[in-house]
Amino acid sequence: MATLLDWDRALENADGSEELLIELAGLFIEECPEMMRQVRAAIDADDAPALQRAAHSLKGSARIFATAPASEAARRLEMIGAAGDLSGAEDGWTALSGEIDRLTAALADKINQQPG
């Protein structure tokens, strides 16, 4: 299994600050439902550019936490959106939802481990 969360790499992305990374993790958990809603809405509306954009945004966010599976799943949907043919989007959505659930759970654990 690929590493779900590479905390050391993620720390580098937050300029070495645990505090900042935890803050970003909290923000991700907060924003994630809305970003996922946009991805879902784009698929439902068969709107390829909107899917590309929404998946791109999710991918960028996931990358901060150096999580290969979630950002890869988002990237696949972004490519589907860019190609304009949404026939593979449902499979992509299933994969993405699973990975994002696991990521948010892992991030929530990290936040809860923090003292205070």
Partner: protein, 549 residues
């Protein structure tokens, strides 16, 4: 820029990056930042219209605009404000296109840290300020954009990229010299720029021209670095210039000016430091005066302080015609690559100075039919082929091609668009632009001049399948034989002409083969491939030497 906070317009729709960048900037102490955040293009344009923004940090994928469109619309709103494009690693071509379009720098989102972020902003603002002053130059801008594009594609180390964007050493002198009318003293601006000091001595010509400025000299010095590195010569790039019209000076005035130039810059030139050569407006005689002045200063003859000297003072056989000869060697190789022979091909040469006239001569010797040539005021066309020797006789006698009877006069614009196998621009920079690149009718574009083609034109030519011999490769013959002259001088050993030409051909052929291999392996245009080939050498040298202290 010490205490005044810089206003950063952060255009970003991803809330995590927005927060990340805000936090990183807020922690900065020197300089400090006011961060204004917007998450749509419309809001960004609105904020820019109010003014007072020092730098824009731009995400290209926004809810109301995507990709390059975002960049061009922000740029159009506020052309003078530096823009730093943020991109992720999988949008390589996007960011490099933005850089071509004038973005000051790029940041990889996947690798943002406060040091690289702050430095990128700081330098982008500094560069914008510097451009507004004496560095302001379209040529320098082009040289920097070419470097950024190649650095981006090659993934060049950040530290090295920032070091290479400006020359390591640049000196300016206000240079006084006596006119022939006894009591009159003229003061002109003179420059010597050394771009990279870590490759060995620096090397580059001295240009006397009324349009010379620091930015132009810096661009030419940068191109010399790539040229030397691509040919594997042990030099960094340099260039010198004097803002003066040499045609308006007498021989005695030119001599006084040249000797004064030499003495102003004597501490930074020398056979182990920086070795000048002829360029536009200077020649072997000017090099002789520089050599004499330098030799008087140190007390013994130092022929290797310059190249392009007269033969009797230690000049090299073949140096005078080296750039044109080298260009034609490469054109022959390019023809073979394209599946035809130079013998019987048609050619057009823009420019009839040292490079243009020799290029036309060697093209004709190689069996090509040179159907058109031009100089500063005249373009001549003859579909049956021009008699190059007679044209040279005419120019020897009348200085210019004007009134030469051997062809039909056409415009410079028409000349560039003529149907031909080989087009060799050997005159000035900025000749092939987005405006005319679509109308060129050549198979091979061989750049005898420095910087004749803009980045936008590069893209058009690439799409149209024109084979490009980029300047840093195509006109490197001159510096290669200059290198031979320097080596011969240091050894006090003279080589025969055949050996010189053969060695030059080997060096150029090798450089072209490496460039072609890289272009084909990585799907790059020839200019970017040549730049990356050169950057790899400069980058490796810088890494190995480390940084003092």
């Amino acid at each position: 820029m010490a205490s005044q906070p810089l206003t950063v317009l952060l255009v970003e729709d991803n809330p995590l990056y927005m927060r990340l960048i805000q936090r990183l900037l807020r922690r900065a102490e020197h300089p400090t930042f006011d961060v204004v955040t917007v998450d749509t293009l419309a809001a960004a344009l609105e904020r820019l219209a109010l003014g007072g923004v020092d730098v824009v940090l731009l995400d290209l994928m926004l809810p109301d605009s995507m990709a390059l469109d975002t960049f061009y619309r922000v740029r159009a709103q506020s052309a003078a404000t530096p823009i730093i494009v943020q991109s992720s690693l999988d949008d390589v071509s996007l960011a490099s296109k933005a850089v071509e379009g004038g973005a000051q720098d790029y940041l990889l989102k996947d690798r943002i840290n406060s040091a690289s972020l702050l430095r990128s902003i700081h330098y982008a603002v500094e560069r914008a300020h510097a451009r507004g002053a004496e560095w302001h130059s379209a040529m320098f801008h082009l040289a920097q954009q070419q470097l950024l594009k190649a650095a981006y594609i090659a993934g060049l180390d950040d530290n090295i990229r920032q070091r290479l964007l400006f020359p390591e050493r640049a000196q300016i002198a206000a240079l006084p010299f006596k006119r022939d009318q006894g009591d009159q003293v003229e003061t002109v601006f003179a420059y010597r720029v050394q771009h990279v000091l870590s490759m060995g001595p620096t090397k580059g010509g001295i240009r006397y021209h009324p349009d010379v400025d620091l930015g132009e000299v810096a661009a030419l010095a940068m191109w010399m670095t790539w040229k030397c590195a691509l040919a594997n010569l042990p030099y960094g790039g340099a260039k010198g210039g004097v803002r003066v019209d040499p045609a308006a000076l007498s021989r005695a005035e030119l001599e006084r000016l040249t000797r004064r130039y030499t003495s102003e810059f004597i501490d930074i030139i020398g056979p182990d430091r920086d070795v000048p050569a002829p360029d536009m407006g200077t020649d072997a005689q000017v090099m002789a005066w520089i050599m004499d002045t330098y030799s008087q200063h140190v007390g013994y003859s130092v022929p290797s302080v310059v190249t392009g000297k007269p033969i009797v003072l230690g000049g090299s056989l073949g140096r005078n015609e080296a750039t044109g000869r080298g260009l034609v060697y490469l054109v022959e190789q390019a023809c073979r690559h394209m599946g035809f022979q130079l013998d019987g091909a048609t050619a057009v040469v823009q420019g009839f100075g040292n490079v243009g006239a020799h290029t036309a001569t060697f093209l004709a010797e190689g069996g090509a039919k040179v159907v058109a040539v031009s100089d500063v005021g005249t373009a001549l066309y003859n579909p049956k082929g021009l008699p190059i020797d007679k044209l040279k006789d005419h120019v020897r006698e009348h200085r210019l091609l004007a009134d030469c009877p051997h062809g039909e006069a056409i415009s410079n614009r028409e000349l560039l668009e003529l149907d031909c196998d080989v087009l060799a621009p050997c005159a000035l920079q900025n000749q092939i632009t987005a405006a005319n690149a679509g109308r060129l009718n050549c198979k091979i574009l061989a750049e005898g001049a420095n910087g004749p083609t803009t980045l936008e034109a590069d893209e058009i030519l690439k799409e149209r399948g024109v084979f490009l011999l980029p300047d840093i490769l195509a006109n490197a013959g001159g510096v290669v034989v200059s290198y031979f002259e320097w080596v011969q001088g240091l050894q006090n050993l003279m080589w025969p002409l055949a050996e010189i030409n053969e060695r030059m051909r080997n060096i150029l052929t090798d450089a072209m083969t490496r460039t072609l291999r890289r272009a084909e392996a990585d799907g790059l245009d020839m200019r970017t491939a040549a730049m990356i080939e050169a950057l790899a050498r400069v980058g490796a040298a810088n890494q190995l030497r480390g940084l003092f202290p």
